[in-house]
């Protein structure tokens, strides 16, 4: 187990450098620089432009810029936004809870529905339910987030008026960001001032539902399919036959003897969805004007805010890598054959 962890850690270092290199170069490949975008191309005085570039250190050769960037990183300095002058880290920590809340809700939605659908489809293999689940999940998997989000907004927000179109909370409420999780903050605000903030929690939930569904759709489809195929595989195992030959109840056979083993590969797939969720969050937050990391990064790319883009993506990527790493370890714990391997 120890070496297992060590090996995994060894892979992280090159990955980390790869990411810095890629973000560093990609953002510089997009035409236009921060000053140009800020001032507008035409009205820009070349001398002023050069001065500004020099101030930002952007007149240096690329390899020096990269070296500076990396050495700053090693000193724990993530730089500051060119626009707000706020440190990237503090901007990130302010906005991250919004994304985390959205992603967690999407993941919970995807996991609960995906597992349920997958298990039932496997048990009722070949039934209409099974075909239905598989058909829908294939559709869900290939659904472009942008299009899917807009469809849901049109239906539930515009046509039916059930959910708000954008944001995290109606402006009418007085909710102080404390945890950064709107559900919790709104709940506490409602408890503290039940009269003025009546309905704040419900409003937060309504704001969250659509984006969470949109963001959770692809993971839901992936989890449902994986659960189903993994269940079907395990159901054929000899030890499931043994379980039935022991006279155990169908529930015991499914939940204790089948699902536990079937979940091992599903767990990995759920872990891998963290990457999908972060990527999807960028689009989802843009559609729903959700003030989180995704929207922050898109805006930063738009104004060529190099430090925000480079380090923001680096932080997100690190998060994804770390979660995948934790998933790997959990996988080892769930699977005694790996746990005991030296």
């Amino acid at each position: 187990m120890f070496f297992f962890i060590l090996r995994r850690l060894g892979v992280l270092i090159p990955t980390f450098f790869g990411i810095t290199l890629i973000t560093f170069s990609l953002i510089r490949m997009i035409p236009g620089d921060p000053i140009e975008v800020m001032m507008g191309e035409r009205s820009l005085d070349p001398a002023l432009h050069a001065a500004a570039m020099k101030r930002l250190g952007l007149d240096q050769p690329l390899y020096i810029q990269y070296f500076d960037y990396i050495s700053n990183l090693f000193q724990g300095n993530l730089g500051a936004s060119l626009k707000t002058q706020q440190s990237v880290w503090s901007e990130f920590t302010t906005l991250f809870p919004a994304t985390l809340e959205l992603a967690l809700c999407a993941l919970v939605f995807a996991t609960v529905c995906g597992l349920l659908a997958g298990v039932v489809a496997a048990i009722k293999r070949g039934s209409i339910f099974d075909h239905g689940v598989m058909g829908i999940s294939l559709t869900g998997f290939s659904m472009p987030i942008f299009w899917w989000g807009l469809i849901l907004i049109m239906l539930f927000s515009v046509q039916l008026g059930w959910t708000p179109v954008s944001g995290r909370l109606d402006l009418a409420f007085d909710v102080q960001p404390q945890t950064g999780f709107m559900l919790i903050d709104a709940w506490r605000a409602e408890m503290a001032d039940p009269e003025y903030n009546a309905g704040a929690f419900k409003d937060a939930v309504m704001h969250l539902i659509l984006p969470a569904i949109v963001l959770g759709t692809i993971p839901l489809a992936v989890i449902a399919r994986m659960t189903r195929s993994s269940m079907l595989e395990v159901l054929r195992e000899d030890y499931v036959r043994t379980a039935r030959a022991k006279g155990l109840s169908p529930a015991r056979v499914i939940f204790i003897h089948t699902l536990r083993n079937a979940l091992i590969p599903v767990l990995t797939v759920i872990g891998l969805q963290v990457g999908t969720l972060m990527g999807g969050a960028v689009l989802t937050e843009t559609i729903f004007s959700w003030p989180g990391i995704g929207k922050w990064l898109i805006d930063a790319i738009g104004r060529r805010d190099y430090p925000v883009v480079q380090n923001g993506i680096l932080i997100v990527a690190t998060l994804v890598i770390v979660t995948n790493f934790i998933v790997d370890i959990l996988y080892g714990i769930a699977n005694p054959r790996i746990r005991h391997a030296k």
Binding site: Y239, R241, T242, R244, A245, K246, L248, P336, H340
Partner: protein, 325 residues
């Protein structure tokens, strides 16, 4: 009355329109404390028969029978819930491949205790003590530490011992052993077989022993049924059947013993293989391979008829002749 009584059992797979009869018109009875052997080549329907009886084919095979009773209970009409009170308790089964028959995610102890909990409601210290007792019963060394072991930490022989412990947990009246030693090393095979036979004697339980190994049957069983392509070809007491086989198939099977006494999955003395789903002959199922085949055999299927020492499914049983022509 027999402990287990099966009359005219058939099991069908496949669609209604295009069915495959894996078992057809099978009669079998087992008395209390009796060892009955079932032999037959691969695909002759031995496992399917047992699974059908245990109710393990749910959703796969269609089962019809004139009678299917165990210990006075009608297994055909019994509810699934009632059946689960019998299966794993009064009828237990062990399987061919012990390494894959234990759940890799749970300790050996858990898997033994599970049956005790479900069927006997044991809890706590009593439960643990009983599990340990069972581990010792099946002669697992260092039983106490092995309770905490996971299946992948056990050898094949050890795993089969654990399976036996699980099967014996609730003192079953009938133990079905479906080729319990086929997957094991030769040296281990004999140990496991000895263990099974000793336990059977000690507890006077009935034992249904499925095997390819005729030598084992000759040694331990009281009665034997020879299966071919889903049917019982011949059935009788062990000494009688081994000395005077009357079915051409049994005779061929026995003449293959000296060279191939262990694990003879196919018979060398009869050319051809057991007919599968698509090549079942319309007459006697053995007719394409039978050295005594007559015109009638190709057109009609023989029924099973009782004789002095057993029963045989053949138009021309070999009551006098002993050698193939």
């Amino acid at each position: 009355m027999s402990l287990l009584q099966i009359k005219n059992l058939s099991v069908e797979f496949g669609s209604e329109k295009n069915p495959f009869r894996a078992v057809e018109g099978l009669d079998l009875s087992v008395d209390q404390g009796e060892i009955v052997g079932i032999v037959g080549e691969s695909g002759s329907g031995k496992s399917v028969t047992m699974m059908a009886m245990m109710g393990l084919l749910e959703g796969q095979g269609r089962i019809v029978a004139d009678e299917l009773t165990f210990d006075g209970k009608n297994l055909l009409t019994i509810s699934a819930r009632e059946r689960r009170k019998i299966v794993g308790k009064d009828i237990a089964m062990i399987f061919q491949d012990p390494m894959t028959s234990l759940n890799p995610s749970y300790t050996v102890g858990y898997q033994i205790m599970e049956v005790l909990k479900v069927h006997q409601g044991l809890r706590g210290a009593e439960l643990k003590a009983r599990a340990l007792e069972l581990m010792e019963l099946v002669e697992i060394p260092a039983a106490k530490t092995r309770l905490e072991a996971y299946p992948h930490q056990l050898s094949g022989g050890m795993s089969q011992r654990v399976m036996i412990a699980v099967a014996l947990a609730c003192n079953p009246k009938l133990l079905i052993a479906d080729e319990p030693t086929t997957a094991l090393d030769v040296t281990i095979q004999a140990q496991i077989m000895d263990l099974l036979v000793n336990l059977q004697k000690e507890r006077n339980m009935a034992l249904l022993m499925i095997t390819h190994d005729l030598a084992v049957i000759a040694e331990v069983a009281h009665r034997v049924a020879v299966m071919y392509a889903g049917q019982v070809a011949e059935e009788g007491t062990v000494p009688q059947l081994f000395r005077h086989p009357v079915h051409p198939y049994t005779q061929a099977l026995l003449s293959s013993i000296p060279e191939h006494s262990k694990g003879a999955r196919r018979l060398v003395t009869l050319p051809g293989i057991v007919p599968g789903q698509y090549d079942r002959p319309s007459g006697c199922l053995l007719s394409p391979r039978c050295p005594y085949v007559q015109e009638r055999c190709r057109n009609e299927r023989p029924g099973i008829t009782a004789h002095e020492h057993g029963a045989v499914r053949c138009f021309y049983p070999l009551f006098e002749k002993k050698e193939a022509p």
